[in-house]
Symmetry: C2
Subunit: 160 residues, 2 copies
Protein backbone atom coordinates (compact mmCIF):
# COMPACT_ATOMS: atom_id res chain seq x y z
CA UNK A 1 0.00 0.00 0.00
CA UNK A 2 1.55 3.29 -1.02
CA UNK A 3 1.42 6.43 1.07
CA UNK A 4 -0.77 8.14 -1.50
CA UNK A 5 -3.48 5.50 -1.10
CA UNK A 6 -3.83 5.67 2.64
CA UNK A 7 -5.43 9.08 3.05
CA UNK A 8 -8.44 9.07 5.31
CA UNK A 9 -8.09 5.44 6.21
CA UNK A 10 -7.87 6.11 9.91
CA UNK A 11 -7.71 8.89 12.46
CA UNK A 12 -10.67 10.38 14.29
CA UNK A 13 -14.09 9.39 13.06
CA UNK A 14 -16.46 11.87 11.51
CA UNK A 15 -18.39 14.34 13.60
CA UNK A 16 -21.82 13.18 14.64
CA UNK A 17 -24.70 13.55 12.27
CA UNK A 18 -22.52 13.44 9.17
CA UNK A 19 -24.29 10.43 7.86
CA UNK A 20 -26.71 9.77 5.07
CA UNK A 21 -29.72 10.80 7.15
CA UNK A 22 -28.37 14.28 7.62
CA UNK A 23 -29.54 15.56 4.28
CA UNK A 24 -32.86 16.36 2.65
CA UNK A 25 -33.20 19.73 4.33
CA UNK A 26 -30.86 22.16 2.56
CA UNK A 27 -29.63 23.72 5.77
CA UNK A 28 -28.90 20.34 7.30
CA UNK A 29 -27.14 19.26 4.13
CA UNK A 30 -24.91 22.33 4.19
CA UNK A 31 -24.21 21.78 7.88
CA UNK A 32 -23.14 18.24 7.07
CA UNK A 33 -20.71 19.35 4.38
CA UNK A 34 -19.07 22.43 5.92
CA UNK A 35 -20.95 23.11 9.14
CA UNK A 36 -17.96 22.83 11.40
CA UNK A 37 -15.20 25.26 12.20
CA UNK A 38 -12.38 23.51 10.41
CA UNK A 39 -14.09 22.61 7.16
CA UNK A 40 -15.28 26.18 6.93
CA UNK A 41 -11.80 27.58 7.50
CA UNK A 42 -10.28 25.14 4.99
CA UNK A 43 -12.77 26.21 2.34
CA UNK A 44 -11.76 29.78 3.03
CA UNK A 45 -8.11 28.86 2.50
CA UNK A 46 -8.89 27.15 -0.78
CA UNK A 47 -11.42 29.61 -2.17
CA UNK A 48 -10.07 32.89 -0.87
CA UNK A 49 -6.44 32.45 0.02
CA UNK A 50 -5.29 30.29 -2.88
CA UNK A 51 -3.96 27.53 -0.66
CA UNK A 52 -3.69 24.10 -2.23
CA UNK A 53 -1.00 22.04 -0.44
CA UNK A 54 -1.36 20.05 2.75
CA UNK A 55 1.57 21.94 4.23
CA UNK A 56 -0.01 25.29 3.39
CA UNK A 57 -3.18 24.42 5.28
CA UNK A 58 -1.15 23.18 8.20
CA UNK A 59 0.73 26.44 8.43
CA UNK A 60 -2.31 28.69 8.33
CA UNK A 61 -2.73 30.90 11.33
CA UNK A 62 -5.42 28.87 13.11
CA UNK A 63 -2.96 26.02 13.66
CA UNK A 64 -5.20 23.07 12.88
CA UNK A 65 -3.75 19.86 14.23
CA UNK A 66 -2.55 17.44 11.63
CA UNK A 67 -4.93 14.56 12.38
CA UNK A 68 -7.96 16.84 12.13
CA UNK A 69 -6.55 18.39 8.97
CA UNK A 70 -6.21 14.98 7.35
CA UNK A 71 -9.70 14.05 8.50
CA UNK A 72 -11.33 17.21 7.19
CA UNK A 73 -9.54 17.12 3.87
CA UNK A 74 -10.75 13.54 3.42
CA UNK A 75 -14.26 14.66 4.33
CA UNK A 76 -14.18 17.50 1.82
CA UNK A 77 -12.94 15.11 -0.85
CA UNK A 78 -15.68 12.63 0.04
CA UNK A 79 -18.34 15.27 -0.20
CA UNK A 80 -17.06 16.40 -3.56
CA UNK A 81 -15.74 19.80 -2.46
CA UNK A 82 -12.10 19.08 -3.28
CA UNK A 83 -10.11 16.69 -5.43
CA UNK A 84 -6.82 15.24 -4.27
CA UNK A 85 -3.77 15.11 -6.52
CA UNK A 86 -0.17 14.05 -6.33
CA UNK A 87 2.30 16.69 -7.41
CA UNK A 88 4.00 15.30 -10.51
CA UNK A 89 7.08 17.43 -9.99
CA UNK A 90 7.64 16.11 -6.47
CA UNK A 91 5.76 12.92 -5.89
CA UNK A 92 5.76 13.09 -2.11
CA UNK A 93 3.67 16.27 -2.18
CA UNK A 94 -0.09 16.40 -2.45
CA UNK A 95 -2.44 19.19 -3.41
CA UNK A 96 -6.17 19.71 -3.29
CA UNK A 97 -8.20 21.58 -5.87
CA UNK A 98 -11.63 23.12 -5.43
CA UNK A 99 -14.39 21.54 -7.52
CA UNK A 100 -17.32 23.21 -9.26
CA UNK A 101 -19.34 22.32 -6.18
CA UNK A 102 -17.14 24.22 -3.77
CA UNK A 103 -16.69 27.11 -6.17
CA UNK A 104 -20.46 27.38 -6.36
CA UNK A 105 -20.37 28.28 -2.68
CA UNK A 106 -18.45 31.48 -3.37
CA UNK A 107 -21.51 33.76 -3.53
CA UNK A 108 -22.85 32.54 -0.19
CA UNK A 109 -19.36 32.60 1.28
CA UNK A 110 -18.79 36.18 0.27
CA UNK A 111 -22.24 37.02 1.62
CA UNK A 112 -21.17 35.67 4.99
CA UNK A 113 -18.03 37.77 4.86
CA UNK A 114 -20.02 40.90 4.19
CA UNK A 115 -22.17 40.06 7.19
CA UNK A 116 -19.10 39.54 9.39
CA UNK A 117 -17.48 42.80 8.38
CA UNK A 118 -20.71 44.51 9.38
CA UNK A 119 -21.04 42.90 12.81
CA UNK A 120 -17.54 42.04 13.96
CA UNK A 121 -16.19 45.15 15.56
CA UNK A 122 -12.62 43.86 15.22
CA UNK A 123 -12.88 42.75 11.63
CA UNK A 124 -9.72 42.80 9.58
CA UNK A 125 -11.54 42.96 6.28
CA UNK A 126 -11.35 46.32 4.56
CA UNK A 127 -14.53 48.31 4.22
CA UNK A 128 -13.93 48.40 0.49
CA UNK A 129 -14.70 44.71 0.22
CA UNK A 130 -18.24 44.93 1.55
CA UNK A 131 -18.79 48.03 -0.51
CA UNK A 132 -17.62 46.32 -3.68
CA UNK A 133 -19.70 43.23 -3.06
CA UNK A 134 -22.82 45.22 -2.33
CA UNK A 135 -22.50 47.47 -5.35
CA UNK A 136 -21.50 44.71 -7.76
CA UNK A 137 -21.91 41.21 -6.36
CA UNK A 138 -21.58 39.43 -9.69
CA UNK A 139 -18.43 41.31 -10.56
CA UNK A 140 -16.91 40.59 -7.15
CA UNK A 141 -17.71 36.90 -7.47
CA UNK A 142 -16.22 36.86 -10.97
CA UNK A 143 -13.04 38.44 -9.65
CA UNK A 144 -12.62 35.71 -7.02
CA UNK A 145 -13.38 33.03 -9.61
CA UNK A 146 -10.66 34.42 -11.81
CA UNK A 147 -8.20 34.35 -8.91
CA UNK A 148 -9.02 30.69 -8.32
CA UNK A 149 -8.43 29.97 -12.00
CA UNK A 150 -5.05 31.68 -11.85
CA UNK A 151 -3.93 29.64 -8.85
CA UNK A 152 -5.07 26.39 -10.41
CA UNK A 153 -3.45 27.22 -13.73
CA UNK A 154 -0.10 27.57 -11.97
CA UNK A 155 -0.34 24.10 -10.41
CA UNK A 156 1.60 21.17 -11.90
CA UNK A 157 -0.28 18.60 -13.98
CA UNK A 158 -2.57 16.82 -11.54
CA UNK A 159 -1.54 13.18 -11.41
CA UNK A 160 -4.49 10.96 -10.61
Amino acid sequence: MTKADTAGSAGPSKPKGWNKEWNGCPVRYAAGVFGDKWSFVLLRDVLLHGKRYYGEFQRSEERISTNILANRLAHLVETGMLTRHIDSTSRNKVFYRPTAKSRALLPAFLGVMVWSTEYDSCTEAPDSFAKAFRSDPKGTIAWYEAEIDKVDAALPDPEP
Copy 2:
Protein backbone atom coordinates in the same frame (compact mmCIF):
# COMPACT_ATOMS: atom_id res chain seq x y z
CA MET B 1 -32.73 33.01 42.01
CA THR B 2 -35.65 32.56 39.67
CA LYS B 3 -35.71 30.02 36.89
CA ALA B 4 -35.74 32.75 34.27
CA ASP B 5 -32.44 34.09 35.51
CA THR B 6 -30.48 30.89 35.38
CA ALA B 7 -30.24 30.38 31.63
CA GLY B 8 -26.78 29.49 30.44
CA SER B 9 -25.35 29.38 33.90
CA ALA B 10 -24.16 25.80 33.59
CA GLY B 11 -24.19 22.82 31.26
CA PRO B 12 -21.52 21.99 28.73
CA SER B 13 -18.93 24.62 28.05
CA LYS B 14 -18.61 26.35 24.73
CA PRO B 15 -17.05 24.63 21.75
CA LYS B 16 -13.36 25.28 21.28
CA GLY B 17 -12.25 28.41 19.60
CA TRP B 18 -15.32 30.39 20.57
CA ASN B 19 -13.28 32.94 22.40
CA LYS B 20 -12.22 36.47 21.77
CA GLU B 21 -9.22 35.46 19.68
CA TRP B 22 -11.41 33.72 17.18
CA ASN B 23 -12.39 36.88 15.35
CA GLY B 24 -10.70 39.37 13.09
CA CYS B 25 -10.95 37.23 10.00
CA PRO B 26 -14.54 37.37 8.76
CA VAL B 27 -14.73 33.67 8.06
CA ARG B 28 -13.40 32.80 11.49
CA TYR B 29 -15.83 35.24 13.07
CA ALA B 30 -18.77 33.63 11.29
CA ALA B 31 -17.52 30.19 12.27
CA GLY B 32 -17.43 31.35 15.88
CA VAL B 33 -21.01 32.57 15.83
CA PHE B 34 -22.85 29.89 13.85
CA GLY B 35 -20.15 27.53 12.56
CA ASP B 36 -21.49 24.46 14.27
CA LYS B 37 -24.28 22.12 13.34
CA TRP B 38 -26.73 23.08 16.04
CA SER B 39 -26.41 26.85 15.93
CA PHE B 40 -26.87 26.66 12.20
CA VAL B 41 -29.98 24.53 12.49
CA LEU B 42 -31.41 26.78 15.22
CA LEU B 43 -30.95 29.83 13.04
CA ARG B 44 -32.81 28.00 10.30
CA ASP B 45 -35.67 27.31 12.70
CA VAL B 46 -35.84 30.95 13.73
CA LEU B 47 -35.30 32.59 10.35
CA LEU B 48 -37.06 30.17 8.05
CA HIS B 49 -39.46 28.08 10.07
CA GLY B 50 -40.88 30.75 12.36
CA LYS B 51 -39.96 28.90 15.53
CA ARG B 52 -39.58 30.99 18.65
CA TYR B 53 -40.22 28.85 21.76
CA TYR B 54 -37.80 26.57 23.56
CA GLY B 55 -40.25 23.71 23.20
CA GLU B 56 -40.55 24.28 19.46
CA PHE B 57 -36.80 23.99 18.97
CA GLN B 58 -36.73 20.90 21.11
CA ARG B 59 -39.39 19.23 19.03
CA SER B 60 -37.78 19.94 15.67
CA GLU B 61 -36.95 16.88 13.66
CA GLU B 62 -33.22 16.78 14.39
CA ARG B 63 -33.92 16.04 18.07
CA ILE B 64 -31.34 18.26 19.68
CA SER B 65 -30.73 17.25 23.25
CA THR B 66 -31.93 19.68 25.84
CA ASN B 67 -28.56 20.58 27.41
CA ILE B 68 -27.07 21.42 24.03
CA LEU B 69 -30.19 23.37 23.11
CA ALA B 70 -29.91 25.49 26.24
CA ASN B 71 -26.20 25.98 25.60
CA ARG B 72 -26.62 27.05 21.99
CA LEU B 73 -29.52 29.36 22.71
CA ALA B 74 -27.40 31.05 25.35
CA HIS B 75 -24.54 31.31 22.88
CA LEU B 76 -26.77 32.85 20.22
CA VAL B 77 -28.08 35.33 22.78
CA GLU B 78 -24.52 36.16 23.86
CA THR B 79 -23.43 36.77 20.30
CA GLY B 80 -26.39 39.02 19.67
CA MET B 81 -28.25 36.75 17.27
CA LEU B 82 -31.31 36.27 19.46
CA THR B 83 -33.00 37.99 22.36
CA ARG B 84 -34.64 36.05 25.14
CA HIS B 85 -38.07 36.93 26.50
CA ILE B 86 -40.55 35.63 29.02
CA ASP B 87 -44.01 35.05 27.65
CA SER B 88 -46.25 37.50 29.52
CA THR B 89 -49.34 35.37 28.94
CA SER B 90 -47.77 32.29 30.49
CA ARG B 91 -44.82 33.17 32.62
CA ASN B 92 -43.21 29.72 32.61
CA LYS B 93 -42.68 29.91 28.86
CA VAL B 94 -39.77 31.58 27.11
CA PHE B 95 -39.32 32.70 23.55
CA TYR B 96 -36.41 33.90 21.47
CA ARG B 97 -36.57 36.54 18.78
CA PRO B 98 -34.14 37.10 15.91
CA THR B 99 -32.22 40.37 16.03
CA ALA B 100 -31.22 42.65 13.15
CA LYS B 101 -27.87 40.86 13.24
CA SER B 102 -29.32 37.42 12.61
CA ARG B 103 -31.83 38.74 10.11
CA ALA B 104 -28.93 40.26 8.19
CA LEU B 105 -27.72 36.72 7.61
CA LEU B 106 -30.80 35.88 5.53
CA PRO B 107 -29.21 36.62 2.14
CA ALA B 108 -26.19 34.42 2.81
CA PHE B 109 -28.42 31.78 4.37
CA LEU B 110 -30.67 31.65 1.34
CA GLY B 111 -27.57 31.51 -0.85
CA VAL B 112 -26.46 28.41 1.01
CA MET B 113 -29.88 26.87 0.49
CA VAL B 114 -29.72 27.48 -3.23
CA TRP B 115 -26.34 25.79 -3.27
CA SER B 116 -27.68 22.79 -1.34
CA THR B 117 -30.66 22.33 -3.62
CA GLU B 118 -28.25 22.24 -6.52
CA TYR B 119 -25.86 19.68 -5.05
CA ASP B 120 -27.88 17.52 -2.66
CA SER B 121 -29.45 14.84 -4.79
CA CYS B 122 -32.02 14.12 -2.08
CA THR B 123 -32.97 17.70 -1.38
CA GLU B 124 -36.47 18.32 -0.14
CA ALA B 125 -36.49 21.95 -1.24
CA PRO B 126 -38.65 22.64 -4.26
CA ASP B 127 -36.98 23.67 -7.46
CA SER B 128 -39.12 26.77 -7.47
CA PHE B 129 -37.22 28.16 -4.50
CA ALA B 130 -33.83 28.24 -6.21
CA LYS B 131 -35.44 29.59 -9.34
CA ALA B 132 -37.16 32.38 -7.44
CA PHE B 133 -34.00 33.33 -5.55
CA ARG B 134 -31.90 33.39 -8.68
CA SER B 135 -34.32 35.45 -10.70
CA ASP B 136 -35.16 37.88 -7.90
CA PRO B 137 -32.90 37.60 -4.86
CA LYS B 138 -33.98 40.87 -3.30
CA GLY B 139 -37.63 40.02 -3.66
CA THR B 140 -37.12 36.58 -2.17
CA ILE B 141 -35.24 38.02 0.78
CA ALA B 142 -37.95 40.60 1.29
CA TRP B 143 -40.55 37.84 1.33
CA TYR B 144 -38.73 35.97 4.09
CA GLU B 145 -38.24 39.20 6.04
CA ALA B 146 -41.96 39.82 5.87
CA GLU B 147 -42.65 36.31 7.15
CA ILE B 148 -40.37 36.93 10.11
CA ASP B 149 -42.20 40.18 10.84
CA LYS B 150 -45.53 38.37 10.78
CA VAL B 151 -44.36 35.73 13.24
CA ASP B 152 -42.91 38.31 15.59
CA ALA B 153 -46.00 40.49 15.39
CA ALA B 154 -48.10 37.56 16.62
CA LEU B 155 -45.93 37.06 19.71
CA PRO B 156 -47.08 38.34 23.13
CA ASP B 157 -45.53 41.50 24.53
CA PRO B 158 -41.92 40.60 25.27
CA GLU B 159 -41.35 40.90 29.01
CA PRO B 160 -37.77 41.85 29.79
